[in-house]
């Protein structure tokens, strides 16, 4: 048996979060805690922290209504460095803990900070279920393709054949593509960005925070100690222009330097997409695909996510999907509201009389 839920959509992710009074603005400093930051020199986490401290004031929210929950791993120290409410929890469980918090507190803007091992290995189950439920939270998935805090073992996003302390002969298992995984798990907002591109990072994080539902942002993040150079080809100015496919809603998907531009077109087989020269494509009457983040059908977003390959010849970044659908926590609360209303109770819950009636039940008897 199922029943139509009639839930609202199309509200901002922070619609129920109290904002600052008019004229009051917070700055980066307000979101910086007194704790000394303890990441390795050169770690990509510094850049993400700076970007987050930079963009949080832009949301215009009261900082006491912002919460960061993390799991375990280098990046999961994140909450300690922000002067908001925070919880550094246990390995892989942050999405589950955040689910309970979000379901009971609509007035909070909740961020989950996690890494490739935390989110995709030990916590894979919680991540996919949070996304399918569409819990209103923003997940920052720091992907450095290595286990850093345990000193350098391969992770579920490491390339096949990765030689590490635990895989001296090369790792055997194929990696996850976090964007494909998120789309397959019905995530309503999926994006990818890079620690080295402050502007892009900020734009994507802001869009993610304002999306109502689970926003999954994969952040390519360099680990100079245990996976140095993993994203070097994307850091180099020229190389990045040639390789990064910057997705924009409503825009043709083209990339590359002037003169050698490439286009993403529907593949000849009819399924998926492929990369061809832009001029060659136009000559053959094959128009580049137009990116649509809002469509209910995730097929194009998924096809774009499959452009990834180990040499990083073309790496799509930006928002893959930003589709509005009812969130789990709104649903939970609307069922609660409906039950309270139906019970005729005033205020926020049924009263003592109702509780006494419940305790007595239908079949009570009295001894005089």
């Amino acid at each position: 048996m199922s029943t139509p839920l009639g839930l609202p959509t199309l509200r901002s992710g922070t619609a129920d979060v109290p904002s600052l009074p008019d004229g009051v603005r917070l700055g980066k400093k307000d979101f910086t805690s007194g704790s000394e930051v303890r990441w390795c020199p050169g770690c990509g986490d510094y850049a993400v922290l700076a970007a987050v401290q930079g963009f949080l004031p832009e949301l215009g929210l009261r900082k006491e209504n912002v919460v960061f929950i993390s799991g375990i791993g280098c990046s999961s120290r994140f909450p300690y460095y922000l002067d908001t409410y925070g919880m550094h929890s246990i390995h892989g469980r942050a999405p589950a803990i955040a689910t309970g918090l979000v379901a009971s507190r609509p007035d909070l803007s909740v961020f989950v900070v996690t890494g490739d091992g935390d989110a995709l290995s030990i916590g894979g189950n919680h991540l996919i279920h949070a996304m399918r439920r569409n819990v209103n939270m923003t997940v920052l998935l720091f992907n450095n393709r290595i286990y850093g805090l345990t000193k350098g073992q391969y992770s579920p996003t490491s390339e096949v054949g990765k030689v590490t302390k635990s895989t001296p002969s090369g790792s055997l298992d194929a990696p996850f593509n976090p964007v494909s995984l998120a789309l397959g798990a019905e995530a309503s907002f999926v994006a990818r960005t890079l620690d080295t591109d402050r502007k892009h990072l900020t734009q994507v994080l802001k869009a993610a925070a304002e999306h109502r539902g689970t926003s999954l942002v994969e952040i390519y993040q360099g680990c100079p100690i245990f996976n140095d150079g993993a994203f070097d080809v994307l850091k180099d100015r020229e190389e990045s222009v040639a390789r990064l496919v910057r997705l924009e809603h409503g825009q043709e998907v083209v990339f590359g330097a002037e003169g050698s531009q490439k286009a993403v077109v529907r593949s000849a087989s009819g399924f998926g997409v492929e990369v061809v020269g832009l001029e060659e494509a136009r000559a053959a009457g094959r128009e580049p695909v137009v990116h649509d983040t809002r469509t209910a059908d995730p097929s194009l977003a998924f096809a774009l996510s499959r452009l990834d390959e180990p040499t990083m010849a073309h790496v799509p970044v930006g928002v893959f999907r930003a589709h509005s659908r009812p969130t789990y926590d709104d649903g939970v609360r609307s069922q609660l509201d409906a039950a309270r209303e139906a019970s005729g109770g005033t205020g926020w819950r049924a009263g003592d009389d109702d509780l006494e009636a419940l305790l007595r039940g239908g079949d009570s008897w009295t001894v005089e």
Partner: protein, 649 residues
Amino acid sequence: MSTVPDPQRSPEQPAHRVDKQVEVLERVVIRFAGDSGDGMQLTGDRFTAETASLGNDLATLPNFPAEIRAPAGTLPGVSSFQLHFADHDVTTPGDAPDVLVAMNPAALRANVHDVRPGGTLIIDTDDFTPRNLAKVGYATSPLDDGSLEGYRVHALPMQSMTVEALKDLGLSRKDAERSKNMFALGLLSWLYERPTAQTERFLTAKFAKRAAVLEANLRSFRAGWAFGETTEAFPVRFHVPPAPAERGTYRNITGNAALAYGLVAAAHRAGLPLVLGSYPITPASDILHTLSGLKRFDVTSLQVEDEIAAVGAALGASFGGALGVTTTSGPGLALKSETIGLAVALELPLVVVDVQRGGPSTGLPTKTEQSDLLQAMYGRNGESPVPVVAPSTPADCFDAAVDAVRIAVKYRTPVLLLSDGYLGNGAEPWRVPAVHDVHAVDPDISTDPNSTADDGMTPQFRPFLRDPDTLARPWAVPGTAGLEHRVGGLEKADVTGEISYDPANHDRMVRLRRAKVKGIEVPDVTVDHGGQEHADSDLLVLGWGSTRGPITAAVREARRRGVRVAQAHLRHLNPLPANLGEVLLAHERVLVPEMNLGQLALLLRGRYLVDVISCNQVRGLPFTSTEIVEAIEDVVAGRVRPTPRRDAR
């Protein structure tokens, strides 16, 4: 609410009446047994509800297989429901049934050996075919071969009589046969003068949308009653007068329902929203079912992806200022261990309910056991003290839940509430408390900074600055300006809550967490000397949790036989009552019955150096009072002694 209906009123005037004798009984133990699909649990539940409303005291023991529908007519598929009711205080579901209602050969075979000699067997004979007899290993029919000679046997074709009663309803034979449990219920209701109005009301509500099924059930129920009234096979009906009871409003309740209501009432009184994170598991799922229907009391129930997410969601909600609760059984508790450890480190309120079942591993999902005590006490990494509270009867699950909430909120700690399958599924009458009598714990959620910065002026919030009396830390929740802080599983500095790897600080924090739990206020354990004021008993029988009923019955019986025996029962396993050591030392011998292999005994020996004597069984069923009486007599007679000490030289 209803007043006691006239038990003599029959639901339907029979065609002719046979004059019946009425025999007055003090107590009866009935067991209904049939196939898992025969509706024996429902039949037992209804008979129990009728009995409760009549004012008898009672205790029940549902007993069913883990398979939803084992192959029909086989021994593993037998499901039973035992009910003990009396005109006096009842503490157990009864050792040996006086009456067995067996709906098929398998039910007879699986249960007849438990029936007391001379007991009554009411047998549905329709399924006694050679094939069905062979299926359960009967070479000849026990109805004919004299093997039931020691019992009063009523062999009745109940299935055929049901079909006959429903013949003009146009049901298939198979559908008609499904109401045979109601025929049996009607017959037994007549035999024991049970009121029928409630059952009719219940059926009417249950099958409101299925008129044909409702009609079939009502008619079968009335046909069973009418058969009793008219047949000469039952010349006597039985009257069990109401038990004396204190004034008040009563209802019948299972442990799982009482536990759920206790959590709701305690949260309601504390003014806290309740957030349940749960994952279905036998025998705890009924708590999830109950709480998911109580949204109007500000109860959010989240059925999440696994046991770990369930406790995680509950803890996340607690961080946000709700009362986080998670419900499970042993295997689920194992999965939750790491998160409970996190809750110990965060020092946030959390109630973890474990409705224990037989283990290890999947074990006996539908059977009871008390073997998670050590898991509850110690099943986490590091020094990770958690208060443990154990209800002792189905109705007591309400009070134990209220107490667990009190401790969790007042002391900012996860609390383990150890129920078990017997308590969860078993039922008894419960005097319903007034809501204002339920303990109201003050959540005392922080609104302002609790300290000043080093300058002595700037207000500052210190998340681990403890209450000097309770050692509880402040509960500051997101949304409160000025109290922003970070918590986490990494060790925190005392007072400030900053990350700290300082050796002395860790040593201090470990001891502080222990001291906090040790200092939780719990009442002294009371010792019952059977009305004697002085503690001159030869033996103390000490139990915890659901063994209270059988221990109480056994102690009464032992006293009747002249043994001087004292009884005490533990509600709080951590911390233990402050006077427990004194109580143990005041008795020459201490007997500890447990449905495990000696887990409380181990704790008592370790803590008090007292050589307690264990009495253990793990058959998946509660103790019978008889086996505890035997253990008491063995100890008193010196047949069982404490371990010999080697330091006697």
